[in-house]
């Protein structure tokens, strides 16, 4: 079943077209990674999928329905979005932040219901956040903060999560912990995931499909084996790379090469 489909999407900000004629499908329960150089339109693609950008040509279909015909509230019950570098301006506690994600389900004026509290509690225990509940977001480390923000997305009980560079400021331990947790939800509740990942090797290890953007167009899309090939990457990123299989997973692993070593290398793939 196709959960998300882009049909001839040309999108951008304030009249400047960033994406040109994008077509792709995301199957339910799959993890799709969006990769590409800086400024290639990755965030624009995510924001178009999340109905944050609403002026574009073509159509975005969620479960076959045009998202422009679905209300914000209805979308929020099915799709959650984690922006990149989200700055929270006020000292909300973790508990308050998680409850906010029940907003699309709650009454406009009445308080949250017992069900809302129960769903928050179950995510809290699954993600081991109970120690943090009464702390404010300002008191958390970067790793904890990112975990809370993912939990907030999951409290929305979504069919699709859209994440914009969720591991950007995390160390290697927190990067893997974050993506492992995401993967667990993908496997357990057939959550569909669309994420921009800057790190090609993380994308390779975790994603079922990759979508490589170049100057606002799709260069290639497919499994990591199909996308992460040196001839494609060198063309798109304008640098020399080597690609070897990961010793354990067998997935492609991309090595960059500093200038001073280039003359010593012989090409291998």
């Amino acid at each position: 079943m196709v959960i998300l489909e882009f049909k001839n999407i040309s999108s951008g900000y304030g009249g400047v077209e960033v994406l040109h004629n994008i077509n792709f499908k995301l199957e339910k329960g799959k993890f799709m990674g969006v990769i590409g150089p800086n400024g290639s339109g990755k965030s624009t693609l995510l924001k178009t999928a999340a109905k944050i950008i609403r002026q574009y040509k073509g159509s975005v279909l969620f479960m076959g329905r045009d998202i422009r015909r679905i209300s914000f509230r209805e979308i929020a019950k099915n799709i959650s979005f984690l922006p990149s570098d989200i700055e929270i301006a006020y000292p909300y506690t973790v508990r308050e932040l998680l409850l906010m994600a029940r907003y699309p389900f709650a009454s406009q004026v009445a308080d949250f219901s017992q069900i809302d509290f129960e769903i928050v509690n179950s995510i809290v225990s699954e993600m081991k956040l109970s120690q943090l509940l009464d702390r404010t977001i300002f008191q958390l480390s970067q790793g904890e903060k990112q975990r809370v923000l993912l939990a907030q997305c999951l409290v929305q009980n979504p069919a699709l999560v859209i994440l914009d560079e969720p591991t950007a400021h995390l160390d290697i331990g927190h990067q893997f912990a974050f993506l492992d947790m995401l993967k667990e939800y993908q496997n357990r509740s057939s959550l569909s995931i669309l994420a921009v990942l800057h790190d090609l090797n993380l994308a390779s290890q975790y994603c079922d499909h990759l979508l490589l953007l170049n100057n606002g167009s799709i260069e290639v899309t497919g499994t990591p084996d199909m996308v992460l090939r040196y001839e494609i990457l060198e063309k798109v990123y304008h640098t020399s790379v080597l690609v070897y299989p990961h010793p354990i997973s067998g997935k492609p692993y991309v090595f960059g090469v500093p200038d001073e070593w280039k003359k010593l290398t012989k090409r291998k793939t």
């Binding site: 924001k47 979308i75 959650s80 308050e96 907003y103 929305q156």
Partner: protein, 326 residues
């Protein structure tokens, strides 16, 4: 809400009212105030001071302080900017321009309508420049402060040109002053302000969601465009009434929400009612100081609130730039 913070706010309210009732050229002890309330006919002179002067003035101060705090809270959430408030965004200035227009055209009775229109115009100017130029929240604030100067200078100029004899009165009023409030406006104010507070509190979840930023708000189910303008209009209405009553009282809308977040936290369910009471009490205390600190002269309350508020603004600025929160 924690019991201690509730108690703190309640004590502040009681203290501010007693302070306001007892202080003045004639000092009344709390016991005497009680006696005047019980048998007013025995205290003709004191009764007049209490019921004709001090109580309306406390009520006016309370409404203005709470209104500025609530509108500050709304603006800070909607624009996701902790330094936003009607004064720093130029909305108060816009309201003053509306009021100046009202005074000149002689429509004294509908001053609040002019103030509301003026604040809407300044919101419109601020947002249209802000969004077309994609200004950062810091630059937007700078623009707002400049708009405030432009609007209030212009309205002061207009008043002075057309009614020279009212120049001093206008200057004092522009500094923020509760001495010369219009009692007709004070009578109608609760009918607009109190429902405004109630609506704000009823939709506390909206403000929580908006304060995460427009992108996140949209993906949590808020229609960002439609609701944003409704909220800004509500903040404009409240600001318009406050400016009609007391002129340009600065920084209350900034300081009080910050203080409240320290006491009860950021959740708007608690922050809205707390801001109403803390903001009201703060301005009652500031106004009582303003009319008693250099007797027999009454200084504009804006001097007191501006002094403490400005000081607080600088402290927040130092703290936030260090943490790079905006």
């Amino acid at each position: 809400m924690k019991k201690t913070s509730f108690l703190l706010i309640f004590v502040l309210l009681v203290v501010s009212i007693i302070f306001g009732l007892s202080s003045g050229t004639e000092f009344f002890s709390p016991l005497k105030i009680l006696r005047i309330f019980i048998s007013p006919d025995q205290y003709q002179f004191e009764k007049t001071i209490l019921f004709q002067l001090r109580i309306p003035r406390i009520w006016c101060g309370f409404l203005v302080g709470s209104g500025l705090s609530v509108s500050g809270l709304i603006l800070q959430a909607i624009l996701k900017n902790p330094l936003a408030e009607s004064y720093t965004l130029g909305i108060s200035g816009g309201a003053s321009l509306g009021i100046a227009t009202g005074i000149i055209s002689g429509h004294m009775a509908s001053i609040p309508v002019f103030a509301f229109a003026g604040s809407l115009i300044s919101i419109f100017v601020l947002l249209s420049i802000g969004t077309s130029r994609k200004l950062s929240s810091g630059t937007l604030l700078l623009l707002g402060i400049m708009l405030n100067f432009i609007f209030s200078s212009f309205s002061l100029l207009v008043i002075t040109l057309l009614q020279k004899e009212r120049f001093m009165e206008a200057v004092v009023w522009f500094m923020g002053n509760i001495t010369s409030y219009n009692s007709n406006i004070l009578r109608s104010a609760p009918f607009f302000l109190l429902p405004g507070y109630f609506v704000t509190w009823l939709f506390w979840k909206d403000l929580n969601i908006f304060s995460l930023g427009e992108e996140k708000a949209a993906t949590l189910g808020v229609d960002p465009e439609k609701k944003k303008y409704l909220w800004l209009a509500l903040a404009g209405l409240i600001t318009g009434y406050c400016v009609s009553l007391a002129g340009l009282v600065g920084f209350v809308g900034l300081v009080i929400p910050h203080a409240v977040r320290i006491i009860v936290g950021a959740d708007h369910k608690k922050a809205i009612p707390s801001s109403i009471f803390v903001g009201g009490s703060f301005l009652v205390i500031a106004d009582t100081l303003a009319r008693t600190i250099i007797q027999p002269i009454e200084i504009p309350v804006g001097i007191i609130s501006g002094f403490f508020g400005g000081l607080f603004f600088v402290l927040i600025l130092l703290k936030t730039t260090r943490k790079q929160k905006w």
